[in-house]
Structures are given as C-alpha cells and as structure tokens.
C-alpha cells in the first residue's frame, strides 16, 4: 500500500452535512440519524410503559381494581423500568447528541461506537423487559435484595447502562473534536453546558450502578452468597438518585433551549445559570441519603448532613433556575413589546405552540408540585410520615413525568420539524396535548400525595386487605383520592396517546418540511438565530418577582404544615 493510500484510509472521511434552514446550524447526517433512532425507541417505551401505568392506576382505583395481584406487581415493575429507565434515558441520548454535535456545528465523534452503545441499550432494555414480563422478576425497578429477580433482569440493566456509558463517551468525544476543530467560538452554549452537567452525573451514576448491579447479578446466579440489604440500598440509590439529577439537568437544559428557540430568550445571566448547573454536579451525590431516612443502622448525623448540606445546595440550583427561566422569558417578551401590566408578557405568550406551553407547564408543575414535595419528603423526621406511602410516587410523578417527560414531549414538537424535517400532523391535537397531559399528571401527582398523606401504602395491590387476618379501614377520603387518581390517570394516558399519535404520525406521514414550508411556517423566533447573550441589565421583571414570591410562600407554608403534622404523632426516640 502506498503512503498516500494509507493516509487516505486513516484520515477522517468527509462527512455529509446539511445547513438547517430554520436555525442555520450545520447538521451532520450521522448525528441526525442517531438522534432519530434514540428518540424513536424512547417514544416506543413511553407508549408501552405509559399503558402499563394506566393499568396500574386503574387497579389501584378500588372501585375498578382491574388486574389480579400477580399482574399488578409484574406490570408495576415493567412500568417503572420502561418509563423511568428506558424512555427517559434513550431520549437523553438523543439530547446529548443534539447538544453536542448539532449545537456545536460538529460531526459526532465515533458514530460507530455510538451505534454500538445504542444496540447495547436496545438489547439490554428488551432483555430486562422480557425478564419482567416472564413474571419471575416482579421485584420493582429498585430490586431491593434479598428479593431475587431472574439473572437476565440484572444483566439486561447492566448492558443498558454500558450502552448509555458509550453514549456519554461519544458526547465527550464530540466536545473535544468541536473544540479542536474550532466549530464554535467562545464558551459552549448554556444548553450544551446543561447537557455536560447531565453527562458528568451520568458517568457517576453508571459507575454506582456497576458497583451494585454486577455483584447482584453474580448473586442471582449463585456466585456470591449474600448481599447486605442496607448496603445494597445505599449504593443502589447512589445510582437511583443521581439519575434523577441527570433528568433534572437535561430537563432544565431543554427549558432553556425551548425558551431560546421559540421566544429568542436569553438567560438573565450566564454566570448564574451555569453556576446553578455546577451546584448539581457538586452537591447531589450524597443525596442518596434521603432515600435512607427511615432505615435502621444509619446515624442521624449522617442523614441530616447528607440530605441537607448536600441537597439544599442542589435545591438552591433548582431554585435559581426556577427564577432564571421565567425571568428570561419575561425579559424576551418585554423586549418584543409585550409590556402591559405585570403579566401581559405571560398572557401574550404563544400558548398555542405546544413546545412553549409544554415547557411552561413542565416548569410550573415541577417547581410547585415536584420541588416542594421533594424537599418536604427529604426532611429527616418528616420522612417518617411519608416513607413508602403513595406520597412518594405522587412526588416523583410531579418531577419525572410532569417535569422531565413533559419537557421532553415539548422539545419533540421542535425536533420533528427541525431534525426529522416533517411538518406536524393534527396541529389541533398537538396544541391541546400539553394541557391534557399536564392536567392528568398534576392530578395523579396530587391525588397520590393526598392518599399518601393519609397513610396509603405504595406498591400495594389492595387497600381493603382482602384475605388478610386483620383488616384496617383507611378513611373514606383515601378511597376518594384513589378514584380521582384513576380518573386523572385516564386523562394523562389520553394526553400521552395524543403525543404518540402526533409524533409517530408526523414522522411517518407528515409533509416534508422544505424551503417553502420553512418560509411559510417559521418555528424559530426571529432573532433567535443571532448569537447574543448577556444580562438583561436593568430591565424590570415584576411578573417573575410575583411568581417566585408565590412559590416561596407556598414552599414555606407547606413545609411548616408538615412539621405540625409530625408533632401530632406518637413520640418516638
């Protein structure tokens, strides 16, 4: 072989790319394809997992009590895994590739490796799902030992995690290439910064996952005799909780991206928003502690220190974003001339645009329902009132469904035209989808929290305790809550179905978005393509001040009410 040929073989082949007609960004074909496949598989898991969620909720509605006990626990396990792990993480892979390759105008590092990761994730997720549906692994997605699942359940999760790790490596590799090849100038965009936060946390998460799942797998095949149940929980939650912080980082990044694309909003201050992301990285790992507040054998000092010192600074990060985002939106709207009164900017916002409405509903529900309930639940002593009650799923449906899932749905309404280059079909359905889904999920969150406050257990097939030696009657309100939860679940499921129909339908049958369509129906805010940043200076933002004040008041009141509840139960020490 001649030297020239060798050089040719080793050199990076020129990769195909196009210039996006909407944003002017350079979009490489390989990155685009990987974004598509990851997003599509994610949506499939959401559809299937969401259906399981509906069946579970209908079973927990005492008047309906749909599934037999065995199926209930099987589908509850499948629901948790399919939506919390598979839907969210596949979609996050798409976000990582978008935030690196697309936003930085760069080709994807090692696309083959990215494909390998994708295939591992598909194989792993299918393997684990099959294991659960076979019925021998109804251990819930937390799989607390010493309850044992089939070996291929753990193996599936391990393969899935390894695949996700590959995805993170490709992401970091792409950042390096972009820097070396100078495909952008200055510092990476805030959205990319948020994605970097997510990816760094993901590496930590997957490492913790390996530390706990590999021994558990070996235990399930009889290679290790015994795993301590408390140690398992400690390490499992180092993975389980951190992965929630991946979701928060990704979702906040998406909020900023949507505000930027739809309204041309820029952060009030890059420094503040980036520092808030940094707080997530620095102060969340020990937050695994707040899953262990009701466990024996762990000291109070450790619990208090690790839940609060660490967690309240991560909470601080979220509270900062909770101000920066509405602030950025208000500033952008005021600059565009919507200056009437305190809330004129909000009334005049593009509420017909599902990307915007989805983002804003996600922001509000995440903050008010998910954020406040999370901090209350994570208070050492108050946790005694709520541990393992339905309050817990109530809380995290507000964070991970109303917050993360709805944010991901909202960005899809931009991804379909920008990346799949299809016009949305059924625009009226798309327009209403975030509202229906948002109301449904707000309902399941609130009513599960309500039932939990009344002591109703989570992961429980029958709150009338049929066939039990002793039976206890939960108060009538608890039953009412479970009924309302069932109705909300139907609403949420309809919202979910609307999303799937619009997205899948548009990808398959939507009109191709060509030059003419881009002109006729621009989806990116005018001026959004202009690179600009910087504080909004002295612009007055009274609407945001009112919003965060209301939030703060609700937070403080609800927090102290729960201390009051606690003070009324039997003394313990």
């Amino acid at each position: 072989m001649s030297v020239g040929a060798l050089e040719g073989a080793l050199a990076w082949p020129e990769e195909k790319y196009r210039i996006c007609g909407d944003t002017g960004l350079r979009v490489y074909a390989k990155a685009e394809t990987l974004i598509k496949v990851n997003a599509v598989v994610g949506v499939v898991f959401l559809a299937v997992g969401g259906l399981f969620g509906l069946l579970v909720a209908l079973t927990r509605w005492p008047a309906v009590h749909l599934l037999p006990a065995e199926w209930f626990y099987t589908l509850l396990t499948a629901h948790g895994a399919a939506v919390l792990l598979f839907w969210i993480i596949f979609f996050e892979m798409a976000i990582l590739y978008f935030a690196s390759a697309i936003l930085l105008n760069c080709r994807l590092a090692a696309p083959k490796f990215a494909w390998l990761g994708f295939i591992l994730m598909v194989v792993g997720s299918l393997m684990a799902t099959v294991a659960v549906l076979q019925g021998e692994s109804s251990v819930m997605f937390t799989s607390y030992v010493p309850m044992k699942a089939a070996p291929h359940f753990y193996l599936g999760l391990i393969l899935f995690a390894v695949g996700a790790l590959f995805g993170c490596m490709v992401f970091f590799g792409t950042l390096v290439i972009a820097k070396e090849e100078k495909t952008y100038e200055g510092s990476v965009p805030l959205v990319t910064f948020g994605a970097i936060t997510a990816a760094i946390i993901a590496v930590f998460t997957i490492a913790s996952g390996a530390i706990i799942l590999i021994p558990t797998f070996l235990w399930s095949i009889g290679y290790i005799a015994n795993i301590d149940s408390l140690t398992y929980k400690l390490v499992w939650w180092a993975m389980g909780h951190s992965s929630q912080q991946i979701n928060v980082s990704a979702q906040v990044a998406i909020w900023y991206a949507i505000a930027a694309l739809v309204l041309g909003a820029k952060p009030l201050s890059e420094k503040v928003s980036r520092s808030a992301f940094l707080l997530y990285i620095l102060f969340l790992q020990l937050a695994s502690a707040h899953h262990l507040l009701a466990e024996p054998g762990i000291s109070s000092e450790w619990k208090v220190f690790n839940t609060s010192y660490a967690i309240y600074l991560a909470v601080l990060g979220s509270m900062i974003h909770g101000m920066s985002l509405p602030g950025a939106i208000e500033a952008a709207q005021r600059r565009r001339g919507f200056t009437k009164g305190i809330f004129g900017w909000l009334r005049q916002a593009p509420w017909d645009n599902p990307a915007f409405s989805g983002m804003f509903i996600s922001l509000v529900l995440f903050g008010f329902l998910g954020g406040i309930s999370g901090v209350v639940l994570g208070t050492e002593q108050i946790n005694l009132l709520l541990h393992n009650t339905l309050y817990v799923p109530g809380h995290f449906h507000a964070t991970v469904v109303a917050g993360t899932t709805l944010a991901f749905m909202a960005i899809t309404y931009l991804v379909v035209p920008l990346i799949f280059r299809r016009e949305l079909i059924l625009p009226a359905v798309a327009k209403w989808q975030p509202y229906i889904f948002g109301i449904g999920v707000a309902g399941i969150s609130l009513f599960m929290m309500g039932a939990g406050t009344l002591g109703v257990a989570r992961r429980h097939w029958d709150i009338t305790f049929s066939d039990s030696v002793f039976t206890f009657d939960y108060p009538g309100t608890a039953f009412l809550m479970m009924g309302l939860n069932g109705i909300s679940a139907i609403l949420a499921a309809i919202g979910g179905l609307m999303y799937v129909v619009v997205v899948v339908g548009s990808i398959l049958f939507g009109k191709v978005r060509d030059e003419a369509a881009i002109k006729a129906n621009p989806i990116v805010a005018p001026g959004a393509a202009v690179s600009s940043y910087g504080g909004e200076g002295t612009l007055k933002l009274p609407g945001t001040i009112v919003l965060v004040s209301v939030f703060f008041l609700a937070f403080v009141l609800y927090y102290f009410i729960n201390w009051k509840f606690l003070s009324e139960v039997w003394p313990l020490s």
Binding site: Y256, S299, T389, G455, S468
Partner: protein, 180 residues
C-alpha cells in the same frame, strides 16, 4: 441565547438585582431547613432511633417467642395470634415475615416501650395506621425504638414495602389500653 456559544467574558457580566436577592433568600431558606432538623433532634418528640444491631433472624424470633411465652394474655379473636402485653419500659419484639406481623402487642397508653423490629426474610415496611408512622424493616438488623402511644384504641401495622404476592395481606395489630 442559550443555544449559541457565548463569546467574550460572560463571567464578569453584572448580575440582575433580582437574581442576587433571590439567591440570598434561597440560600438562607436552605440554612433554615437544615437547622430545623437539628432543632427537632433537640426539642422535637419524633425522631427515629439510631439504635440498631446486627442480628440473626433465628435469634430475633427466639427473643420474640420468649417474650410471648412470658406475657401472653389471650388470643386475638379466633385468629390463633397471641395478644402479648409486656410491662412498660421493657423490650418488645415485633416479627415481620411473609406475610404477617407477629404477635399482636398490647400497650398501655402514655407508657414507653423499647420496640424491636426485624424481618425474618425480605424487607418489609412498618406502617402504623391510622397514626401514620412509617419505618423500614430489614432482615439481619434489629432496630430498637422507644415508642410512647398517646391514645387508646386499635391500631394496625400495614406492610408498605413490597414483599411478594401476599404483600396486601400483611397486616398486624397493636392495641393500646388505658392504664389500669
């Protein structure tokens, strides 16, 4: 714009006044919440005990049976489950196992007991209703908490950690009677 690379020195951009105020409030609020937990350890009445020991399930079961042998006062209906009334201040054992809480305990109101919780098999959840106190129960760990019932009546222990197909049948009973 959040989707564009930023040029120039963004670190030195001045902050919005609202941002400074909000960050300060949020930070102070974090300190308040941190202090609240410590305050409750000093002045509050509801704190989860830190006393726990490693224990073999058989040893725990033997202790519970010894307690039952000594202090059984009757049988709960026709369930065959003994009602055990240990003296106030003593060590009281409640076994969690698939799928029952054993035995039925009888306490005197306003007296304190050293309640031991442990599981014989998988994890279970001690959920005292309608009082609503929820504590995780592990195998091989003996959690000891001092508990003081403040109202008389019948209370139930619902299992709230998933423990298999019979999980929903795992309900136990605690009776609280007025002092004689």
């Amino acid at each position: 714009m959040a989707i564009h690379a930023v040029k120039g020195n963004w670190w030195n951009e001045p902050l919005h006044r609202m941002e400074i105020i909000w960050i300060s409030i949020a930070f102070v609020w974090g300190l308040v919440m941190f202090s609240a937990m410590i305050y409750w350890h000093i002045a509050g009445q509801q704190n989860l005990s830190n006393e726990a020991y490693r224990i073999d399930p058989e040893v725990f079961a033997a202790r519970a049976e010894a307690m039952a042998d000594q202090y059984t006062i009757g049988e709960e209906g026709d369930t065959g489950v003994p009602i055990v009334q240990p003296p106030p201040g003593s060590d009281v054992y409640l076994i969690a196992r698939l799928w029952e809480w054993w035995p039925v305990l009888q306490f005197e109101k306003d007296q304190s007991y050293r309640l031991h919780l442990s599981s014989m098999d998988w994890q279970h959840g001690f959920s005292l209703q309608p009082t609503n106190i929820n504590i995780q129960v592990h195998p091989n760990y003996d959690l000891v908490l001092t508990i003081t019932p403040t109202e008389a009546g019948e209370f139930f222990v619902v299992c709230n950690e998933f423990c298999g197909i019979g999980h929903h049948t795992m309900v136990g009973k605690i009776r609280v009677v007025d002092k004689k």
